[in-house]
């Protein structure tokens, strides 16, 4: 009998992490970053529709809790590799929003000097390797960063972001096996948003969860609710601690959802209404905001002040990006060789 997998993937219930995992000040920082990512993406979408962001964009609205929860579990010196849906990964790791926006607009002030664009954002000085847009290709590279950490004794952990769709790429599996066999300090972090572009997860995978595959490499594999930053933090922290202590890799799968289409002009009409409705109700930003008010006693005014400071930061970022010139065309001949 062939195995059947569920077609309806609705959010797991009551799966939030305990609020006292982190001090209140840190929680406020988590909220600020989640809100910053959301608003940044909204600005990007706005500028894209006005023709100011060329090319293509993949927005991460809806996945903020996964990104920020993961990043809180990492140290500043740790490394991440980014995906094609990388704006939020970059921001959460500490990439400057102004330089990021300028990059998306192809300007000289961009974090990659305008050479990369939306698909290749990153800032190595904060440990965010400029994004790799060929899915699966980052996993072996992340494993190499981890090998270097082990050899050089830096104590760094590498977090390899990838999507549920990317779980079908052989490169990821080769990397997981290598990391397991050599006990490398890497966390394979799956942002499971139910779709590989337009294709539903049940169409390309017989597993209910991507994390089931960790067992094949004898590494820990867990699936957590990805729309609560504390649930994510709790799971990723275990994986990071294990990696840093020399215990080797883990796979953490965060169950989340895209609030937008796959890219720029995708209305995502291929999605099941019940699924969309169930997930849209679990917007991580208002949900975490409520938790902060109700469970941590953070005041409405404090949250409003955080939100206002994010808006100010983004106004400044837009000013910077728009004033930044296009690079000199001669720059196209640079950076080919070291």
């Amino acid at each position: 009998m062939p195995v059947t997998v569920s077609r309806l993937r609705i959010p797991p219930e009551q799966a939030v992490g305990p609020i006292d995992l982190l001090p209140t000040e840190t929680l406020k920082g988590v909220y600020r970053m989640m809100f910053l990512i959301r608003e940044f993406e909204t600005v990007v979408n706005h500028l894209f529709l006005r023709g100011r962001v060329p090319g293509t964009i993949h927005l991460c609205r809806g996945q903020e809790a996964t990104l920020v929860g993961t990043m809180v579990a990492l140290d500043k010196e740790d490394r991440i590799t980014l995906t094609h849906r990388g704006h939020g990964q970059a921001l959460a790791k500490g990439v400057d929003p102004a330089g990021l926006l300028a990059e998306l607009m192809g300007r000289a002030g961009g974090v990659c000097r305008g050479m990369g664009g939306s698909l290749h954002v990153g800032d190595w000085s904060v440990g965010a390797l400029p994004a790799i847009a060929i899915v699966g290709a980052s996993s072996p590279i992340a494993t190499g960063l981890a090998l270097a950490a082990k050899r050089q004794g830096t104590g760094r952990v590498t977090c390899n972001f990838f999507g549920d769709g990317t779980a079908s790429k052989g490169e990821l599996h080769e990397a997981m096996n290598l990391a397991a066999v050599w006990e490398l300090p890497v966390v394979f972090l799956c942002e499971n948003n139910v779709y590989a572009a337009t294709t539903h997860i049940s169409e390309y995978m017989k597993n209910e969860y991507v994390s089931e595959r960790a067992a094949a490499y004898r590494m820990p594999g867990v699936s957590v609710y990805g729309n609560d930053p504390l649930a994510v933090y709790e799971a990723v922290k275990v994986a990071v601690d294990q990696a840093r202590a020399g215990g080797g890799p883990s796979l953490v799968e965060c169950l989340t959802y895209r609030r937008d289409g796959h890219k720029r002009d995708d209305p995502a009409a291929y999605r099941d209404d019940r699924e969309v409705e169930a997930w849209l109700k679990t917007d991580p930003i208002p949900a975490f905001r409520n938790r902060l008010r109700e469970e941590s006693g953070v005041l409405q005014e404090e949250l409003a002040a955080i939100e206002a400071s994010v808006e100010d930061e983004l106004i400044a970022a837009q000013g910077f990006a728009h004033q930044s010139p296009y690079p000199d065309v001669q720059q196209r001949l640079s950076y080919v060789y070291a």
Partner: protein
Amino acid sequence: MSMPDLTTAPPAVRVGGNRTLTIVEAMREALREEMAAEDRVFVMGEDIVVGGAFLVTLGLAEDMGVDRVLNTPISENGFLGLAIGAAIEGLRPVVDMQYGDFLFTAADQLIQQASKLRYMSGGQVKIPLVLQLPTGASGRGAQHANSMESYFFGLPGIKIVTPSNPYDAKGLLKSSIRDDNVVLFIVHKHLYGSRGRALQHEQTSVGEVPGEEYLVPIGVGKVIEEGQDITVVANNVVLHHALNAASRLEGEGISVEVIDPRTLVPFDIDLVIESVEKTNRLLIVEENPARGGWGPWVISEVIRRAFYSIDAPIARLAANDTPIPFSPPLERASVPTEERIVEAIRQVIHG
């Protein structure tokens, strides 16, 4: 900063009885006709049930069934190998690679397996397989901008087709599906013009397609514009820039003959030689990095076979020997444009 050159293409002419289609619609018709005529033909690739990245397969799954329009996991190496196996057993797969750039993750299956299995087996097996590869610089950064031709022009054992308009795209895709070999079907992304911002390029991708069935044979080039003073050989999207350049230069009294090779392997070199023997001058335009591509091979053939017909140094325009940069002004500076073609032609003519 000037506007992208692509918007300056002249509007298509309407010819009675024919239909005006986009390249995408023409390719979709070819798939539909070949699938209807031959049950062994099937299509597979990522997201193709809803039409694929450029909507080439839109509606095909509904009409032909999801067992003949297969949505694959993101496993290019896996499904290309699978297609080779299916082809050996007599099926006729058309693999939609979404973007040609992703073919590199399946490089072994193409370079070591598909192109060599027939040869190594002393002709025991054949592999009728078509790979659809959207290609070229289109504002998406270095990893979605590769010009596939330069990587595979030198690979023995495969054919390479690069149509530049809907008529050729339909006729050549039908011929490719009927061919018993591995065919790379390469179309520049700017020619798809089917979606969102790509609409600004629609003028270059629209053209006349007859209602009745026809084929365009693989390996036959075409003189698109007749001229006396110089031969320009260009394919894919840069052909359109060359045609625009030719009409601009008419006013200066320069008569340009424009040739679209349409197929790179096999290449209709006789057509180019004949033309050069008439015009005595040659410019080649391609989007491949200057160190790669098909132009150098064409030039070596022209020198070998028509050396004494050549009156001026042979010229070639290609992309920079760099990855394609993201920033739009830098990208435009990296690839051949109408403006650069005009200058290059003047240079060859006036020295």
